[in-house]
């Protein structure tokens, strides 16, 4: 469907294994520029590994990841850190670090020996904190924040990197419903207002269908199918990928498909 759109990232026949476990099996996936791509799939299907491989945190056995048609294995760590931001699944920082200290770390890939902290760095940090609403708590310590605040502080750190592409690994995992919506609305805003390319791993299919431009089902280390949420949310496909018999209805408010699981298939 969107292959005519320019791809920001092109995953090509990526194979990655831990010992004898093949996690990604010659997986290929285009990630269109300026869109929200959501990776979904059962536990252990390889979606988090795929996300980390896109940021070159795992070295593949074969295949490649192209970023704007350039092989990412040719880029150094800091150069890649200026192009792709990644928020880990359960990131950790010292409890007594302040929010501002954390967000400033997002400028690390922009720093160099002969390139000290600049007004541009200050501006990026300020914009990242304002955009996530953590500017009012910038002197607070990480350890004193609630789950929702902490997640926003981490997103601000990734934003301060000023990357065109942002990957988030299950960003709403430990958040309550209100904060899940806050977080995903924030991500959508970054996408719509600033045109950033977003890649998300989400477990909740209904949230995935609501926010995705491209929904990708990963199973057994391969892309099972990908497309617009309306095309992907089919009872037969969900039964096959997630082993759940479900009914699909349309959300009366957002006109997006919703899946109601009945029982294990």
């Amino acid at each position: 469907m969107d292959d005519q759109l320019a791809s920001r990232i092109e995953v090509k026949a990526l194979t990655l294994s831990y010992g004898n476990d093949v996690v990604l099996d010659a997986l290929s996936l285009p990630i269109p520029k300026g869109q929200i791509t959501v990776l979904a799939g059962p536990n252990g299907c390889g979606k988090s590994t795929l996300l980390r491989a896109i940021r070159r945190l795992h070295a593949p056995q074969s295949g490649q990841v192209l970023l704007d048609a350039e092989d990412i294995s040719k880029l150094n760590g800091k150069a890649l850190g200026r192009k792709i931001g990644l928020l880990a699944q359960s990131p950790s920082a010292p409890q007594d670090m302040t929010v501002e200290e954390l967000v400033r770390l997002g400028r690390y890939p922009h720093q160099a020996m002969l390139q000290p902290w600049s007004p541009g760095d200050d501006a990026a940090v300020a914009a990242a904190m304002a955009g996530t609403g953590v500017d009012t708590m910038k002197h607070r310590r990480i350890g004193s924040l609630s789950g929702g605040q902490l997640q926003r502080a981490w997103i601000a750190m990734v934003l301060a990197q000023e990357t065109d592409t942002i990957c988030l690994d299950e960003p709403v995992n430990h958040l309550d419903m209100a904060h899940q919506l806050d977080c995903l609305e924030l991500v959508t805003k970054l996408n719509k207002e600033q045109g950033r390319t977003i890649v998300l791993v989400l477990h909740d299919l209904n949230l995935a269908a609501r926010y995705a431009d491209q929904l990708v089902f990963v199973a057994g280390g391969k892309v099972r199918e990908r497309g617009a949420p309306e095309a992907m949310m089919r009872a037969d496909l969900i039964a096959e990928v997630f082993s759940v018999n479900a009914e699909i209805i349309t959300d009366p408010v957002h006109q997006r498909p919703i899946c109601i699981p009945h029982r294990r298939a």
Binding site: L57, G77, L80, G81, L86, Q89, A93, R104, G106
Partner: protein
């Protein structure tokens, strides 16, 4: 040095005032350490001689007899504290210190083996005692290398490295004890002196060797420390902002081992300074990096110079190794940290 300036300007008390205060205490203690002895030399005379003035006899006493000992204590204490700072920061654990990496115990084993191998039938050494620091350095480097070899691919994990360090330290300690028990009397007492950490016999040649090791390593560590703030994050987060944390961590461990080896090879198994000084520094200046390093080094020097001075004042003419004092202060401090950590962890 260009500062990456990733640590923010603190809104709490400016660390520079604290740094100056600690530096002042260090200078006073350093002068007092030289001034105190069989005859008291006033502090202004000591300062005068150090700045190039003074009479011939004053110069002889200050520069040849007293300065080496105090300088060695300052260098060793500072270097061990620096190593402790790096380790506590890179492991994000305030209980980390050079002692737990096996470096100190490895050096001890090196010394005891040296004394055992080169003892003659008449219970005296067949080579010069001046080789002892080299034996300590070899032991220290061998121990840390063993830790890395055993850790293998897991060497990038801080906790694994510490666990292997503790294991290697325990084996070295056990072997040291065995060699002391089966060795000749002279060897046992000489080894015991070194193990306890003594700076009283140090001469200028040894100081020069210490400086030759510690200054380059210290400067390299200073440059490497610029990447400590991103290293505060977990592996995935730090790698995604462009720092290869697993590799960087091994590099910092290696630098810390070299700093410790350079110090204990000459000053002996001084204990707990690497634990106490960086921890106190953190209480004084918070997370600020440059101030943290400087204050750690100064506090480490203060503790060892102070310990050496204390035993000379309180126990003269008996020469007790300075390391016994740091151990007497340090062990309860360690226990206090353990108890406090349990409380904060709920």
């Amino acid at each position: 040095m260009t500062d990456i300036a990733l640590s923010p300007r603190r809104s709490i008390a400016r660390p520079s005032a604290t740094v100056l205060a600690v530096a002042a205490v260090f200078v006073l203690l350093f002068l007092a350490g030289i001034g105190f002895g069989s005859t008291w030399i006033p502090l202004e005379t000591v300062a005068n001689v150090l700045l190039g003035g003074g009479e011939k006899t004053e110069k002889l006493v200050v520069l040849q007899l007293r300065l080496p000992r105090v300088l060695a204590a300052a260098l060793a204490g500072g270097a061990i504290a620096y190593a402790g700072y790096l380790l506590q920061r890179i492991t994000r654990n305030e209980l980390a210190s050079p002692g737990v990496l096996g470096v100190v115990d490895g050096a001890a084993l090196g010394v005891v083996l040296f004394l055992a191998i080169f003892s003659g039938a008449s219970n005296s050494l067949t080579v010069s005692i001046a080789w002892q620091p080299l034996a300590a350095a070899i032991g220290a480097v061998a121990a840390i290398s063993l830790v890395f070899i055993l850790s293998g691919r897991q060497a990038s994990s801080a906790i694994r490295l510490l666990l292997f360090g503790i294991a290697v330290a325990a084996v070295c300690k056990a072997l040291t004890t065995i060699f002391m028990l089966i060795g000749p009397i002279y060897q046992a007492s000489q080894a015991a002196r070194w193990l306890a950490g003594a700076v009283n016999t140090i001469n200028w040649t040894e100081i020069q060797l210490m400086l030759a090791v510690l200054i380059p390593v210290g400067i390299i560590a200073g440059f490497a420390a610029r990447h400590l703030p991103p290293a505060d994050l977990d592996d995935i987060s730090s790698r995604s902002i462009g720092l290869n944390l697993p590799v960087y961590r091994i590099f910092i461990f290696f630098l810390a081992a070299l700093l410790t080896a350079g110090a204990v090879a000459f000053a002996g198994g001084v204990s707990f300074i690497g634990l106490m000084a960086p921890h106190l520094a953190r209480l004084l200046v918070g997370r600020a990096r440059a101030a943290g390093i400087v204050v750690s080094i100064l506090l480490g020097a203060i503790i060892l110079v102070g310990a050496d001075l204390l035993i000379r004042v309180a126990l003269a003419p008996l020469e007790v190794p300075a390391g016994t004092v740091t151990a007497v202060i340090g062990a309860p401090y360690f226990l206090y940290l353990l108890v406090r950590k349990d409380k904060t962890n709920g």
